[in-house]
Symmetry: C2
Subunit: 298 residues, 2 copies
């Protein structure tokens, strides 16, 4: 089977369909090389869109380069307003190993794309997560500190903010963060309350940064009038989805509420759901070969 | 993709490896036509073995015909002793639609195989489940009433026990039940007790025949010193696995015990586990396209 990576570029545009169409067209122009655009999620409040594509490694990088160029032509960060933090027209580009590809391959891919974006498009590029060149550049939030406006003021003067590739000055396309990471599952849980404070307290308990689970990022939000614990599960092998949801369930009980529903944003690997099913059904002897489809081949 | 059926023939032999090897060889002789023998589960106490194979419909029927002939040559029901009820050397042969095959196709397949077994091997054949020719022949337990010994005494005299195919008399190979049914999941749950009475009470509550769930068969057993609720889920689309296990969990609580572990015997379709995961994670918006692997194709 062909080696495949996932790539999930985030663009700072969630309102103008013609801009999103142009970015999508840039990616689809590489369909003949195996690039498949699986999903586009846009949010007008955030003024941001998340594209999900799957492709052979080199084809993914070539397609995303064209998308970055298109975004730089059509998005002006000086004019951009939105609820979500951002520093660039193409804000962040993670590569994820999917099949027949190691993390080291995705790190190399991120470096090559970063070099090209810096040199050919004159956009400053920061490498992050597994591709980071310094410990203080691993986390996306640190790289986005001060957002576009703050970075514009600092990039030329502060050596700590010198980019990994490209010029140390910010144009209308801003800067782009490129890197490699494990598969991220976006899983949101709605509570039977409109009290956002409860969602915030639960998020604080489950997330790593404030003492919770190692591979969980979480926020308490109010979405459509309902309190929501919004999560990123950054390594479902080590912090499984059922561990996170059971912790939320127990915490919710503490506040006299319950989980009303859950939602997956984008995609998730089959294994994450099989692991959850095996846990709830207490299948100590579970092996992937027990799944009928895994024994069929044509 | 090639149409596929599953076939799960049960043979009345769980002790003599040379007999099981001969049956397996009969099935594997059809490998060139796409017959894949996935699993053999033998039980010496039951003196019985369950073979699981996947194959294109016609190839499955041809392979199982050879296995039935082999079993008839090597197993003498007059000498057979075992804990499990049985009426034939090849006791029961269900065909299950897997992919690109309808239940009606499996019914037709069961009829063709039954006709051939009756005519060429002179073994009485009863059609059951979706292939049954009368309502009182739908359930396997009814067809096995009195087992081999009882059927031998009755088959010639009682018109209700006249076979669908083959002679109305029983030789050493006994009779064979052939039919078509939906995928059956064998799921056993061990309790934190050695009290078989608790397992029996719980089995009685969850099984259809005594007032429980529509597509659950259940027995309370003592296995390796532990109380076990042993289940067959005969239509996991209509009675999902999580509904059954949650009912057992609640009933166990009533008796002051809990589920220690669960086990799947044989295989189960991916969908059964995805359904369970989606239920526990409360994914109202779950669609198969959210599973990454379902969006990849090569």
């Amino acid at each position: 089977m062909q080696p495949l990576v996932e790539c999930v570029p985030n663009f700072s545009e969630g309102r103008r369909p013609e801009v999103l169409d142009a970015i999508a067209a840039a990616l689809r122009g590489h369909a003949a090389h195996g690039v498949r655009l699986l999903d586009i999620e846009s949010d007008a409040d955030h003024n941001r869109s998340v594209f999900t594509l799957v492709a052979p490694p080199k084809a993914a990088a070539a397609a995303v380069f064209d998308a970055i160029r298109t975004a730089a032509e059509l998005i002006d960060l000086a004019q951009h307003r939105g609820a979500h933090p951002r520093i660039g027209a193409t804000d962040v580009v993670p590569f994820v190993p999917l099949r027949g590809v190691e993390m080291a391959d995705c790190v190399e891919l991120a470096r090559e794309l970063g070099q090209r974006v810096g040199a050919e498009l004159q956009i400053p590029v920061y490498l992050y997560e597994a591709a980071a060149t310094r410990p203080d550049r691993v986390n996306l939030a640190d790289l986005r500190h001060g957002e576009y406006e703050g970075l514009k003021a600092e990039i030329g003067a502060n050596p700590n903010r010198r980019p990994d590739f490209g010029p140390a000055r910010l144009g209308p396309a801003g800067a782009t963060v490129i890197g490699a990471r494990t598969f991220l599952i976006a899983y949101n849980v709605f509570l039977t309350t409109s009290d956002i404070e409860i969602a915030k307290k639960i998020a604080k308990t489950v997330r790593h940064s404030s003492g919770g689970l190692r591979h969980v990022k979480a926020l308490g939000l109010l979405v459509n009038g309902k309190a929501q614990v919004s999560m990123n599960l950054t390594d479902f092998h080590k912090t499984p989805i059922h561990v996170a949801v059971e912790m939320i369930r127990r915490e919710a009980q503490r506040y006299g509420v319950a989980i009303e529903s859950g939602e997956i944003i984008g995609l998730l690997p089959q294994q994450a759901l099989l692991d959850a099913a095996a846990w709830y059904l207490q299948l100590d002897n579970f092996r992937p070969e027990m799944v009928l489809e895994n024994t069929l081949d044509g």
